[in-house]
């Protein structure tokens, strides 16, 4: 998570308007879900990898390691789709060609869909995307809450880490039962800290004239229509190519 966050804040496309990244990513995602996976999947994977690595300048290794976790789940889960279990005439496990096709389709589709989201989160900090929610009618209070939670996750993650290290230094994790007890204490302490912190944060914000709304200046990057049009054209071409390929194969 730290790695994703780091790249989201420092990549070459950091200062592009979030819609320029969100719209193509979501359209690609929609295409992946709608079109035959064997043709669209590889195209989308290639496009998103190219965009994140060559475009946004994120190291290939990082992108692959972010994709690795969901890919591992897919590899572990998808093969079972190729197997069918029957219960009449006793119990039998069968390998079916239809099932194999289904497994491959599912895997390619899921991986391609994940790559769309990976490309988005690696190039755009969450805090750029959340304010867009306000435009589509999500209440301000909820948007503010999401942003505050995002900020506090890092504060508490740090606390949790140092707390765990301090416990480990005093052999708090030297056996499994002891580890469970230590983790429980740590969680309890963090809850208490969270409450105290909330109170002090309120004081800090009050000192700066907080009156119920967390207003800040919106970020200044302007939406480039030409860039958006270009990327949407490319996305359209990918969709078209994949449809033609699918027809050709069929």
């Amino acid at each position: 998570m730290q790695a994703i966050d780091h790249h989201a804040w420092t990549n070459r496309w950091r200062n592009r308007h979030p819609v320029e990244k969100l719209l193509p990513a979501l359209t690609l995602l929609a295409l992946t879900l709608a079109l035959p996976p064997l043709t669209i999947g590889p195209l989308v994977l290639a496009a998103t990898l190219l965009a994140t690595v060559r475009g946004a300048g994120i190291p290939l290794k990082t992108v692959l390691s972010v994709l690795a976790a969901p890919a591992a789940f897919l590899l572990a889960g998808a093969p079972f789709l190729a197997i069918s279990v029957r219960f009449h005439d006793g119990f039998s496990v069968q390998f079916s060609p239809d099932g194999l096709r289904l497994a491959v389709d599912t895997m390619v589709r899921a991986l391609a869909a994940t790559s769309c989201l990976t490309a988005l989160i690696l190039t755009t900090p969450l805090t750029d995307l959340v304010p867009l929610l306000r435009r589509v009618g999500v209440p301000t209070g909820i948007v503010e809450l999401i942003l505050l939670i995002y900020r506090l996750i890092f504060v508490f993650a740090e606390r949790a880490l140092t707390g765990r290290q301090a416990q480990a230094a005093r052999l708090g994790y030297s056996s499994v039962p002891r580890g469970i007890r230590s983790a429980g204490w740590l969680a309890g302490a963090l809850f208490q800290r969270a409450l105290e912190r909330a109170q002090r944060l309120e004081l800090g914000l009050t000192a700066r004239g907080y009156a119920g709304e967390l207003r800040v200046l919106p970020s200044e990057c302007a939406l480039s229509w030409s860039r958006l049009a270009l990327s949407m054209t490319l996305v359209g071409l990918i969709g078209l190519t994949s449809s033609l390929l699918a027809r050709g194969l069929a």
Partner: protein, 273 residues
């Protein structure tokens, strides 16, 4: 005599639950002063500072802004907080926004300024603390010292007349302290009145015009820094030690020297001569 910018008169404060935090506390803040509130940890300095901008309301006694008693209705509080800025000790208690620039924009927007004015204020505050280059950085990726400066910028952007700082040097290394004091000195020269709490007698001696010795919820004595810090009985009562620099300076004949360089130069001269 001119009216002080801020006067605390006979203030008592009890925490919900009845524990007395402040009792019969008196303090005056004159325009253009650098006032150090000196006391041991846990003596209630933070509680006092939270009274200076209206975050806490005294159970008894009053706080006056120039010639008028401060009010606790929404309008008076807004005005009060514009005039008295408070920087908390722990910057994470104050920073909430995703980027530095956004966080600093919070105060000016709350004052009802336009986006254009706010942007100008943000630039000005970041420049005053020499952290313009951090404007687009994510808040959570900053170092502790950087966070402290950003928290200060967030208050400065409201252009307060009085800047109150709770333990401003706590947790900073000597380089960080020097950087901070430089910034505060520039603010002071630009006309900002400074009030800071600290348990560091050396800092108070080197830097403050006035010192208030604070213990067990009350100010034992407020006065000119050298006079207050030379009062050994008083310091002992407040569990503070006199600053080493002052003790050395007292060994030297002539008028009392304040700067470290001057004292060292004199000592060297005498040791060699």
């Amino acid at each position: 005599m001119t009216v002080p910018l801020l006067t605390v008169r006979g203030v008592d404060y009890a925490y919900p639950g009845g524990v007395m935090a402040l009792r019969n506390l008196n303090l005056t803040v004159e325009k253009g002063q650098k006032l150090a509130i000196l006391g041991p940890n846990g003596s209630g300095k933070t509680t006092l500072l939270l009274h200076l901008n209206g975050a806490f309301q005294p159970t008894c006694g009053e706080i006056r802004l120039e010639d008028r008693p401060a009010g606790y209705d929404r309008r008076s509080l807004t005005d009060w907080r514009r005039r008295v800025g408070l920087v908390l000790q722990e910057p994470d208690d104050q920073l909430f926004a995703a980027t530095v620039g956004q966080d600093v924009s919070f105060g000016p927007l709350n004052l009802g300024l336009t986006a254009v004015e706010t942007r100008e204020r943000v630039g000005e505050a970041l420049a005053a603390l020499r952290i313009d280059h951090l404007a687009d950085r994510a808040t959570h990726t900053l170092s502790f010292g950087q966070k402290k400066r950003v928290a200060m910028a967030g208050v400065l952007a409201m252009r307060p007349e009085i800047l109150a700082l709770d333990e401003p040097t706590a947790g900073l290394d000597s380089h960080g302290v020097a950087h901070l004091l430089d910034a505060l000195q520039r603010l002071h020269e630009a006309g900002t009145t400074l009030v800071f709490s600290t348990h560091d007698v050396e800092l108070a001696y080197a830097w403050a015009d006035q010192a208030a010795i604070f213990q067990d919820g009350t100010v034992l004595r407020q006065g000119e820094t050298t006079a207050v810090l030379a009062d050994r009985d008083l310091l002992q009562q407040a569990r503070l030690r006199p600053p080493l620099l002052l003790e050395l300076a007292q060994l030297l004949p002539g008028p009392l020297l304040r700067s470290r360089e001057a004292v060292l130069a004199q000592l060297q001269e005498r040791l060699q001569g």
